[in-house]
């Protein structure tokens, strides 16, 4: 057991390797059909020709019969790259009462499970980070060794760094993912979306363009979802120097409304770029959480 694991509150989510395999086994996963239409074996329909289309796929029969230029489309089973972007900023180390572990631990479990599923399906996986210390970025790779490397990297990393005012760092991380993820790749971002710099939703939303599928899984602690506190409170943010003295009963409705508004804002921004937002509670069953993420990227469809 590494010293870093001692520092991070893994709680009931350790050991990650076994838990990830268990979660992956619980999720039905098989060969998934690519939505990408193009060169392939099985006919997938027609569409109007637009300049630039490959002339080899012009449907001659339709041209002769109807006098209209149509392009034949085919569905093909193909490998998709899964690009994981895990938030390892300091706020992800938070674990409230009733949570099985820290938010990072939960996100790492989900990431490892997704990795296991993707690798099982023959896809390749890459791993990048938002913040964090001792983080190891993994280039796109496949096979059993890739899972071990991903799990090792997830276990080694330690939530750290204050991204609140560090937009360039976030943009650098996004750029790395951008470079790794080609057309047809699936990008899964695991983050609490808290204490990110202004403009983060734009930078992260850009990952959903150029034929990539983007799913942002927001991982929150149960106490962040329910705000179960009572009486006078003196709260301190883990990133930035935000401190608030308040009364729990009075602040709760406004907090929940602000949290929902923030989620709506992210959801709208992501949808406009073809992405989706998945809300995860670190207290909920990881299997269901993984299914929700897979549903958002169409993995089970």
């Amino acid at each position: 057991m590494s010293a870093l694991r001692k520092a991070l509150d893994w709680g009931k989510l350790a050991p990650l390797r076994l838990r990830a395999k268990t979660v992956a086994d619980g999720v039905y996963a098989g060969g998934h059909r690519s939505r990408r239409r193009g060169a392939g074996i099985e006919f997938g329909g027609q569409r109007s020709y637009v300049p630039g289309d490959d002339l080899r796929f012009i449907d001659r029969h339709a041209l002769l019969r109807h006098g209209t230029l149509l392009v034949r489309q085919f569905e093909t089973e193909t490998d998709r790259t899964l690009c994981l972007l895990v938030d390892a900023s300091l706020s992800m180390s938070y674990r409230g009462e009733g949570a099985p572990g820290a938010k990072y631990a939960y996100a790492a479990l989900i990431a490892a499970a997704l990795c296991k599923i993707a690798l099982g399906a023959g896809d390749r996986v890459s791993l990048d980070w938002l913040g964090g210390e001792r983080t190891v970025e993994l280039a796109t790779a496949g096979g059993r060794e890739a899972f071990e490397r991903v799990v090792g990297a997830l276990e080694t990393a330690q939530p750290s760094a204050d991204l609140k005012s560090d937009l360039p760092a976030l943009e650098r991380a996004v750029a790395r993912v951008e470079r790794r993820a080609g057309r047809g790749s699936t990008v899964v971002v695991l983050s609490d979306l808290l204490d990110l710099p202004a403009g983060a939703e734009v930078a992260i939303g850009a990952l959903g363009t150029r034929g990539k599928t983007l799913s942002v899984a927001r991982v929150l602690d149960p106490s962040e979802v329910d705000f179960p506190f009572t009486g006078p409170l003196h709260l301190r943010a883990l990133e930035g120097d935000s401190r608030v003295e308040t009364d729990a009963a009075a602040a709760r409705p406004q907090y929940l409304a602000a949290l929902e508004a923030q989620a709506s804002h992210w959801s709208e921004r992501l949808l406009s770029r073809g992405g989706s937002l998945v809300l995860l509670n670190s207290a909920e069953d990881p299997v269901k959480a993984v299914r929700k993420v897979l549903d958002s990227v169409g993995g089970l469809s």
Partner: protein
Amino acid sequence: MSFLVAAALGVGLFVAIPIAAHLLRRGRARERDFPPTALVPAARSVARERATLEDRLLLAIRALLIACLAVIGATPFVQCSRLSLTRSAGASVAFALVLDDSHSMRALAADGPRFERAMRAARELLASAREGDAIAIVLAGKPARLALAATTDLNAARRALRDLSESDRSTDLEAAVGLARTSIASVPHHDKRVVLLSDLAGPALSEAEGQPPLWAPVPELATPLENCAIFAAERRGRRIVAHIACTSPAAAAGRAVSLVGDKSGKPVPLMTRGGVQELGLDFDPKLTRAELELNGGDAQKGDDRCPLAAQSAALGVMVAADVSNASAETGGPPVLEQALGALESSAALHPIALLPDDVNEYRSNALLLLDDPGGITPEARSALGSFVEQGGVAVAFLGPRVEQTPLGATLEPFVHGAVHWESKGNGDVNAASLAWLGPEASSLQDLNLHGRAGLSTTDLLGGRILATFSDGQAFLAKRELGRGALFTVALPSSVEHGNFPLRPAFLALLDYFLNEARTRHGAAQSVAGSEWTFPLGASVSINGPRGPLAVREAPRASGSAHKAATPTFTGRYTLRIDDKPEERVVTVDPSEITTLPQKPPESATRARASANAGSVDASPELGFVALALLSLELGLRVFRRLTRERGVTSAALRS
């Protein structure tokens, strides 16, 4: 203070711990990490304010709890200063409370009136009494009185104590201590003591070392206080004479006397000296029921005012004696006047040559002494009768002139008919018949007499023989007439007719007559605590400064009874005696002002020290307090938990 006491009290320093904890927690309501803090709005916390109050309450409770535990730990080394009785081997005790209810005890000390402090001490002592203890209560205001005979009934003692009140009496501490010692002398208790609750403003106790021992548990009562008082004010013609007493020159400095309501009059400043002084003021005839007032303030505000007496305060005595016959051979005033001067310094002597024909001439006099009257004319007889009926006392010392009464004059109302002068009579007075006069009666034996008036029972007009000669003939007769009395002595006051005036019994007789006069006539001014007596048949009602004054029936030493009333507060009293109005003024004894408090007798102080300062172990009470504080803290904690749970439940319901 021993090491154990210091160590136990040192536990009290732990009070600092909850205080420090409170200070550390104050204003930091459970700071905690919460990543989405930016989404939480700041809000003024009602709950926090409530919690702050609760925290302070908890802090107070915990601090008090620790302090209680420290004091309990030090018990029995540390004890509170409440008075209590100490017991030798836990045995019952008998104690007589001598409570001084004199005027000086009304002085206002730093912690309230002295009398209230004494009463508080008495209550504390009584509270520490147990079943089996014997208690007597004696009041040291003059005359000393037994308020409660020695009893083991503690409830009766509490009731008696509750009924006691202050007064303006003089101090009679010596008699009170004697009475207290007597009152508990017969109780079987081994441990007896006399508790002295007095300012000791009076003569030094001559028997301080007697048994049972004295204990003065409240020495602060004897703290000297500055005071001035107008103790008498009387009108003399168009002038008013104010008698003022001050404790010290400092008390008199800067103060002045004025007539209340007389705006034109100028206040007369006091001489800056202690003791008694007399000041004269102009009398304003427009003022009715005039009062004098001392400006400024002192320890007793109540004695800074004094009503003006209608008559002189001195007892008026008229003496009708022939200077040529009734004087000593060496000259000077008549023997009667000399004797009165030696006996009663405050009596105002009015020598007269002839008996007044008008009763008004008797005004302001209470006693008439007639030496060897040669007959009383009808007019004088009538005036004399009226004087006696209104409470005057007349005494006739019969001499040889009883046989020389002129035509139309008689010796009535003293005796009826002719009285013979017996040149050679029996020389002895029957001392047994005069025993009521006191030990001086025996001095009337072996008298060298030149003669005596022969009084037979038929001549006395229903009077009573109070004393006889050894042969049975009347020596002294008394006749009641209205409110007054007539006394007839069968011997003259002149030394020419024998050595009777030279015997101590002569002075004792004069003193008896003065007392009778004072009692029957009633001085226009008297000292608080002096008894006013009235004939048994008279209808008497008295209204004083504090409402009606009770008139009681009291027995006399001679066996007869009379009505009596004792004014205990200074001020103006209105009397109605047989529907005749009368006004009297009660004043304070100047010695109550001028006599400074004395230190308690050394033996009383020693007794106090040996009695462990009369302190009481308060650890049971402190234990109960600690228990109550503990319960309070537990209750508060349960309350806080319940309110917190309720808050969580409602928050969950809202979500």
